[in-house]
Symmetry: C2
């Protein structure tokens, strides 16, 4: 605590009957109440997490998670190597009321408005190091000088290309040079440039089904026919791809995959399937386009290296990644790693479509990667998102209205769950009921070429634990309303036989 | 002057034999010497332009032009409604030595490096209100809130669309609504989106020849055949277009024109040709794509309104403009004004190619237009560029090695001259000799579909008067080297018969 603050006595006991609310969320709420009551003043230094954990008789991990959440929410400020203090300007929103941040937007009344979107897995822009980026942009302006603000290379800032090459080689096992890197405005532009460079009318591009539809649109727009290949618990079913490819007489130009955490189902492509896919690519001569959209976010175990890491040369594999998932969707920065010839051709297309990128942002991000600043942010965000995943998991598994109707498996990484519902659930009706309660929920069929799937994607990363609690509660209420017979809420809290089968 | 500064006595007399150096440049140099000698300290307030003009017995316009240049170069700072003061941090480069800024870049030695590029007419990024934009971006971050940093409308920030609609209606006589506006990243993306939306394989798009080749590439990339139509002193020769169109049997989908200041020749499309072109568009049913890339920069007389202003509805005319020419090429912001159906289709294409723009920059620019800040910058820049055009004109007409070999007509607007050379000049050899002296010069043939033209585009706006003096001197020396027999330098300073004929 600061020398000028009164000694702070804080009593806190975990309530074990708090309806599944995790301990660190309970602690965070209690701390917010202390701040709101004025017992912790702005600027007051908090005891270290070890001290706090000891005095409250809690696991230190719980304390660290609570402090991290409060830093993320703006109640506390992290002091470099000196713990935390109460923020000088406090958030307007009382977290203790579990009132959603998004309900307080400029639109006024929230009645019938979407207060929460169970998005497809976007990061929490409230955590984004926007000030750090803004300062780096100012420095970049100085470094570039005003004469550096003319026309520049359509392949991107040469400094960023060098830094990215080093970064993906170090962190992801690629073996590329700066000339293999093309900086784009997010992964959508990367996919479009590849499509417009690789595809000729009549070519076929195979995709995962369910899959990332905006990616399909890029290939279709370039004139490709789309071949939909099913996905199972191991990711893309390569046997089916092989069987279908045989009938295409060499027209299969590329296979577009999300091997790290398959979009939307979140499953990693298994090592066997990876080997099988690479062998098939070599045999049939198609290009593997690997969309590694959230490599940073892996929570359990060691992540598999990208497919592109194993390729002995750049030929045959194209790597696509994005920094938008690391920072915020509004910060548009992605990149392609491919062989020099393809990079040069895609760069020529980029010049036609967009002339060049944002040189100031690119140089700023180069500096932040070189200094390890973005990596530090990634580590911090990863920790917070892991906690949020665990909170969401606990909430979903403990809600009596939901736990019997949903198969809830925690994703090993990424920013969303893929929730499968039991047969009695009408997802479309559920989504409508949820919308009436202010929760946006997109049925998983949106990611399918055709037909229906009784599942949906539920992004957890952009919501705080308190917001997640509100959302899960509203989801439960909406589900109960649309499938009243299926609830076992009043009879028992134990999973039904059906849900046990689904989860097995 | 500031209260804490010693009284400043400044004697200055215009030298009428200063080899064509304009009065305001002489004055600016004299003021820089005062600063360098320490007689004017950082922070010292200068007398108002009226006082200074009276005491130095100069026209006030000359004084204002000199002060504007010094503000642009960073020697002085403009005080809002309070005149100017000496900048707190002075530029490293002694302007009085007429040493080029670009030679002092990070690359070290400038021997054989391009020190000046006679570009195709880019603005001076040193004048760009980058601090003002950066501050507006910070405010936009606050206004948008972190929840505003998710995915946004691919057609652009709704606030900017509204502001731009109001702006082009007020300032350029258009009659559009926000839903007619699509915000892009510069005019290149605007042209590509239009091409990919309007053009089907086999369609023909007519363009000016010479013309803006990156625009042609956008239409070709979308599958169009390009029809090249000549340009004369009235702009696009519509008679030729009509004759050629007759043979196309309805395949002419669009005509891409730069009517305000034709690129690269700078001539405005005459009122008669405009009427003729509109009538032909109505008769044949093609779309006019009007690229109004530098409407802000018109120096003499009242500019003609855009073609799109006269169109009674949005149908049949598409308007493309850019803010990059107003600020700096690195600030990528352009827009399309078209009928709602076309805007919606182009917006869907934009979503595939680029998802969305930079919402923070877009909101910031919206604010700066609404506050009149960008318009104020445009007025200031216009005044400076008019002066630089006049300086360039004087320098070209007074250089004994150049004046007999070049036809120098001042453009009524825009940021470049189109310089035609006499028959004895080998432009390619001249360009090589200039490159050896560090001056980049692109022969005008680069803007032609085929063949040669004995002319080239010379951007003046990004160079200060002192830099222009250096460039013109180097151009003269290079020309003399490549065409030694044609110079009349030693015999007489009067224009030769040939040059008088060319200029007539």
């Amino acid at each position: 605590m600061g020398p000028d603050a009164r000694p702070w006595r804080f009593d806190f006991a975990v309530a074990d009957d708090a309806g599944g609310t995790p301990r660190h969320v309970q602690l965070a709420r209690a701390l917010v109440r202390e701040i709101q009551r004025g017992r912790l003043a702005p600027g007051a230094r908090l005891p270290g997490s070890r001290t706090l954990a000891a005095s409250l008789k809690l696991n230190r991990k719980v304390v660290v998670a609570a402090l991290d959440e409060l830093v993320a929410q703006g109640w506390l400020e992290a002091l470099p190597a000196r713990g935390t203090q109460v923020a000088q300007s406090l958030p307007a929103m009382p977290v203790a009321d579990a009132q959603p941040v998004r309900a307080r937007g400029a639109r006024g009344s929230t009645t019938n408005a979407v207060r929460f979107t169970l998005n497809d897995g976007i990061p929490d822009a409230r955590l984004a190091p926007l000030d750090v980026i803004a300062r780096a942009q100012r420095r970049a302006l100085t470094t570039l000088g005003r004469s550096g603000l003319g026309y520049s290379d359509p392949a991107g800032d040469p400094v960023l290309r060098e830094v990215l090459a080093h970064f993906v080689n170090q962190a992801r096992g690629l073996a590329c040079k700066p000339e293999h890197v093309l900086v784009t405005r997010g992964s959508q532009m990367a996919l479009s440039l590849l499509a417009l460079t690789l595809v000729e009318r009549g070519d076929v591009v195979a995709v995962e089904n369910p899959g990332y539809v905006p990616g399909w649109r890029a290939f279709e727009f370039a004139g490709a026919s789309i071949l939909h290949v099913p996905v199972d618990a191991q990711g893309l079913v390569v046997d089916v791809l092989e069987a279908k490819a045989k009938r295409l007489a060499g027209r299969l130009k590329a296979v577009y995959v999300t091997p790290h955490h398959q979009y939307p189902t979140t499953v990693p492509l298994s090592p066997e399937r990876r080997m099988q896919l690479r062998a098939l690519a070599e045999k049939l001569g198609f290009t593997i386009i690997e969309d590694d959209y959230d490599y940073e976010y892996h929570f359990d175990g060691t992540p598999l290296l990208p497919l592109s890491a194993a390729a002995s040369s750049r030929r045959g594999t194209v790597y696509v990644a994005s920094l938008s998932k690391l920072i915020a969707p509004a910060v548009r920065l992605g990149y392609i790693v491919a062989d020099s010839a393809l990079t040069a051709r895609a760069s020529a297309v980029r010049e036609i479509l967009d002339r060049q990128g944002d040189i100031v942002l690119e140089r700023a991000i180069a500096e932040l990667i070189e200094d390890g600043e973005l990596q530090r942010h990634a580590r911090r965000a990863r920790q917070i998102y892991r906690e949020r995943r665990d909170v969401m998991l606990t909430l979903l598994r403990s809600d009596p209205r939901l736990r019997s109707m949903l198969e809830v498996r925690p994703p090993a990484g990424g920013l969303a769950f893929w929730l499968s519902a039991s047969e009695t659930v009408d997802i479309r009706a559920w989504a409508q009921a949820a919308a009436a309660r202010g929760v946006g929920l997109t049925p998983g069929s949106a990611h399918l070429a055709s037909g229906n799937v009784r599942a949906f994607r539920a992004g957890f990363a952009s919501l705080t634990p308190d917001e997640l609690a509100v959302v899960v509660d509203l989801l439960g209420a909406s589900l109960e309303e649309t499938t009243p017979t299926a609830t076992d809420r009043k009879s028992s809290h134990a999973p039904s036989r059906r849900s046990r089968r689904l989860a097995g």
